[in-house]
Symmetry: D2
Subunit: 345 residues, 4 copies
Amino acid sequence: MSLSQNRRGFASDNNAGVHPDILTALTEVNDGHVIAYGDDPYTEKASAQLREIFGQETEVFFVFIGTAANVLGLSTVTQSYHAVICPETAHINVDECGAPEKFSGCKLLTCSTPDGKLTVDMIASHMHGIGFEHHVQPRMVSITQATELGTVYTVDEIREIARYTHEHGMLLHMDGARISNAAVSLGSDFYEMTGGAGVDVLSFGGTKNGMMYGEAIIFFDKALCKDFKYRRKQGMQLASKMRYIAAQFSVFLENELWKENASHANRMAKKLYASVKDIPGLEVTRQVESNAVFARIPSHIITALQDEFFFYVWDEELSEVRWMCSFDTTEADIESFASLLRSML
Amino acid sequence: MSLSQNRRGFASDNNAGVHPDILTALTEVNDGHVIAYGDDPYTEKASAQLREIFGQETEVFFVFIGTAANVLGLSTVTQSYHAVICPETAHINVDECGAPEKFSGCKLLTCSTPDGKLTVDMIASHMHGIGFEHHVQPRMVSITQATELGTVYTVDEIREIARYTHEHGMLLHMDGARISNAAVSLGSDFYEMTGGAGVDVLSFGGTKNGMMYGEAIIFFDKALCKDFKYRRKQGMQLASKMRYIAAQFSVFLENELWKENASHANRMAKKLYASVKDIPGLEVTRQVESNAVFARIPSHIITALQDEFFFYVWDEELSEVRWMCSFDTTEADIESFASLLRSML
Amino acid sequence: MSLSQNRRGFASDNNAGVHPDILTALTEVNDGHVIAYGDDPYTEKASAQLREIFGQETEVFFVFIGTAANVLGLSTVTQSYHAVICPETAHINVDECGAPEKFSGCKLLTCSTPDGKLTVDMIASHMHGIGFEHHVQPRMVSITQATELGTVYTVDEIREIARYTHEHGMLLHMDGARISNAAVSLGSDFYEMTGGAGVDVLSFGGTKNGMMYGEAIIFFDKALCKDFKYRRKQGMQLASKMRYIAAQFSVFLENELWKENASHANRMAKKLYASVKDIPGLEVTRQVESNAVFARIPSHIITALQDEFFFYVWDEELSEVRWMCSFDTTEADIESFASLLRSML
Amino acid sequence: MSLSQNRRGFASDNNAGVHPDILTALTEVNDGHVIAYGDDPYTEKASAQLREIFGQETEVFFVFIGTAANVLGLSTVTQSYHAVICPETAHINVDECGAPEKFSGCKLLTCSTPDGKLTVDMIASHMHGIGFEHHVQPRMVSITQATELGTVYTVDEIREIARYTHEHGMLLHMDGARISNAAVSLGSDFYEMTGGAGVDVLSFGGTKNGMMYGEAIIFFDKALCKDFKYRRKQGMQLASKMRYIAAQFSVFLENELWKENASHANRMAKKLYASVKDIPGLEVTRQVESNAVFARIPSHIITALQDEFFFYVWDEELSEVRWMCSFDTTEADIESFASLLRSML
């Protein structure tokens, strides 16, 4: 594929580059020597910022990517005979090439959902064989906020899942690869919909929202992660030059860059939705609650459309496509795209 | 530890920051959108540069860190009942928190060495139980170039190990976290002492030599790594915004930045050696062949010395310490340090 | 539970004891010393008998139990990023406490079935993401013969699954824990519905049909299992006193004890079915094709009925129970049970 | 190898058959149905007998083989970043094809020993890097009683190792594949040299001492094994027809069959030692403390000697061989063997 012009499209928020403030932050911490592997003042500062947001009782760790945050988060609180209950569409189930199973040994028990969101009833459908040694034992529930389908759990929905999860001796994990988009969508702060709602382990992502690399894992109870440092190292996720991950998080958090970026991306998605929803022959298929728009379009136009603005087909059979907006999507991008689409239909 | 001034020390080459050219490279590729996960022109360019160096027959992959390069390199060509023969001092044995065992299932068979360098005789001492199902089966030999003790294998030494390794149906892995320092030390090009000498899998590192993050794995025979892409993803080492790793490698290679940095670090180590070797009460304990100086010094001066220039004790019992030079070590650093040391002894 | 009298029930065919001929066989091979771990004439004899049945090109190994046969069979031909497609009800999915995931790293992709039997369409529903590194890669299809629901694949059904499986570069595994019951049910010989129909790896069980312990794994292509001996040892399934497993298989096979036992168990199931099917308030829920009868009965009679003849509830919500017949079930057992059941309803 | 006559040799105590009382026991429990997977009166009885010996506070589980007892014992109390300290000669290190690493993820840290016995000093040599995330963390010490070299730890030696182990926050595992031979050798009861001396987890073996199959794992603190039942099932070690393992243990323990068998085997080893020690050209190389005799003999006689009485070469280079006596070795066997040996030298 010719991308010589690095033309913006709607393929994924991680096709975007890095916000300029993030790049600047990398340069600002570049001076001199600091202890490697995270025992440095920049890492301490970013950790303190996260504890400021999520609570002083939390424990904060940095890793390279979201898959690692998810997998190490799960592994740390499970044993190999445990099971993790999640939606069929969860990133941990579909997009991590079996890393959860390989690294933790656990089985994923999946639920079919209409919208990417788990409910208590779905979780309950897997709660059998408890104490029976022939069965894997459910130990964790994992939800994604915002979901892979662009939908967003309300704080109450998360609370209800957390209540059920804890009542049944399990823990609640949240994959927050797009947590900023969800927070903006709900008008919630980060804590309210995570630890405040009963989440035990959070993968807090920034790469899809303007960072270069790096993800944080937040444990809301320190007792859960006493040995996490060994698991991170053994999980090949301990960065030597940690200051450059920390610096990104600091600027991401301190000027509410996360909010600026996510608000923009969500707004662009709303605009995209508004611009295309009435085009005949096109059907928007999911609630637009964060930075994604899903739609069915005639299959014969897909390739030509992709040539101008790259995006992925979500479901070949249904001719359903996904359009992701990102922090750098422009109004002009939306207008050109909608206009092109309109002209094709 | 107060590091507010980010004072340079001799703790490790990964306590150093990032070379300015690398930082610049990150900015230069930041424009617009490219496909995530490595299907982008920057990754293609960096891969082509590496194939230029290592041979068109090689296959090149990027991961985040050296531990991952080692572990995934080993895992890809072994099965869980295999064994990997390496020196007792190998990074894979001592410094990866059991990641090789956890991820590959393999046992490491270690050899005691005087200088961190494996020999054919040492390898041969583990070649028993072949074909006997009660024993793990040796499948790989792993050497580090330059070694963890700062020594360097000659090209002939590598050839001899490769010959034995292949004759016995095994593969040769090289941990090249400091391969630039070794190349400079030998006056060898990269290929001559790797694929040219019989190495099958190479972890090619840059982070200890001025990069921010990112490591390459080079397979010299494509047949060995047909499924590596799945292993990398499952191994939680597939970067979404790959262009920023690729950009670092491009600048690292294209202007011979690697050579400039490594030459400097090695020269500083030689200067450090020259400056301290005759100090009474100090004994240099290893050949200074790359960017490390090992020495025994009286234990009572260690803490005070570390307060000024941080470094690590290598062997508490022997009072042996390690001083690493890096791309940004200055002549003045060496002079101040040597002078301080002299004043203490 | 008081079982002082070891009263026969319908809980499971592995609640039964051991056929007297099997016990005799153990005594007959007890004389003197033979090489441990399977290099003995008894193991050679039993292996030859299995090769006689399944083909001289097959490779035969003994392990302790069915779970191990399944898990090692799968592990030997997969890598950790592969997936195994199976029915939701498969023993490997439900009854092995996650051993397949733990040992192989693979993900199981499950299909909802009405009768425990996989079809090509079900398999096809999982055939996406091929070559896409974010997804696990389907490598194996696993079917159970007779199924966990007592149903039996016809030879043609197996052939059709094998055809599709092989066309898509996958391998076909059969869990034959109750293969004797299936063979008798179909009037098929073992080969016709396994290797003859395209099965690549077979777990061949005897414990549920009158043996004490021991299971065979049959690889129909030797190339698939060149390293199996290491996997068996590492999988903790290499018996030291192998002759006692081999002796059981020899007598199981040589006098068609397998057929005698399975025919009897199947006949008893047919008789049970005939005896209860018309009882009002009872509904037989599955085809009775092997040695199991599934039925819905009023939940209030279950406990009292279990007190006389133990059995398991299959689905609490549906009040569906499972009654297994075994080689030692008597006509009188059936008559007493049916009569008791009738009196309760 | 022709073994048509099943001639007794000195290859291994597991080349021997099964004691007649064990065979009888299998028949005696064969009547009727009992619940599978260990919820039966025979398993309860054997467990009670073991608790009688090892303490009411212990938890007892049965598995198929010694490798599994070792591996599951280790896995249950470790996490993947832990290390297990053991002698280089340990069965877990040399003879289990990497099963401990594969199943637990742990690294084995080995100690070279003159006699197969660990000492506190050897253990201490591995106690560094504690709390340092780059290193595996020592969590368990494993000793073998009697050792693979036929030597036996005194009760005081075990106590001293246990004291050090516990003081350093670790647990002590004993591989008791030949624990009966050790108990007889010391004149100790089982408890005194296990739980009584500080052992936390014991692999209690019977197969090398006249049983057919089956091994017990004893946890001396129930808190250590709360989830063992899941690990055993996932570890493919849960026998369906458990009564036949239990029955063997019952007869093994209740009439002190273990002592009768082990006393005999040890006595035969002493007799063998006495018969050969003065033969010129032969040198006994290890203390004869249990049922093994190790000796150096001229390499040119080995094959001819093996043709009459099979045994294994222990160390090819040293021309050291191992002769194991078993419960069924006869005085005549010893006399013929010694006489043949004498005639050859």
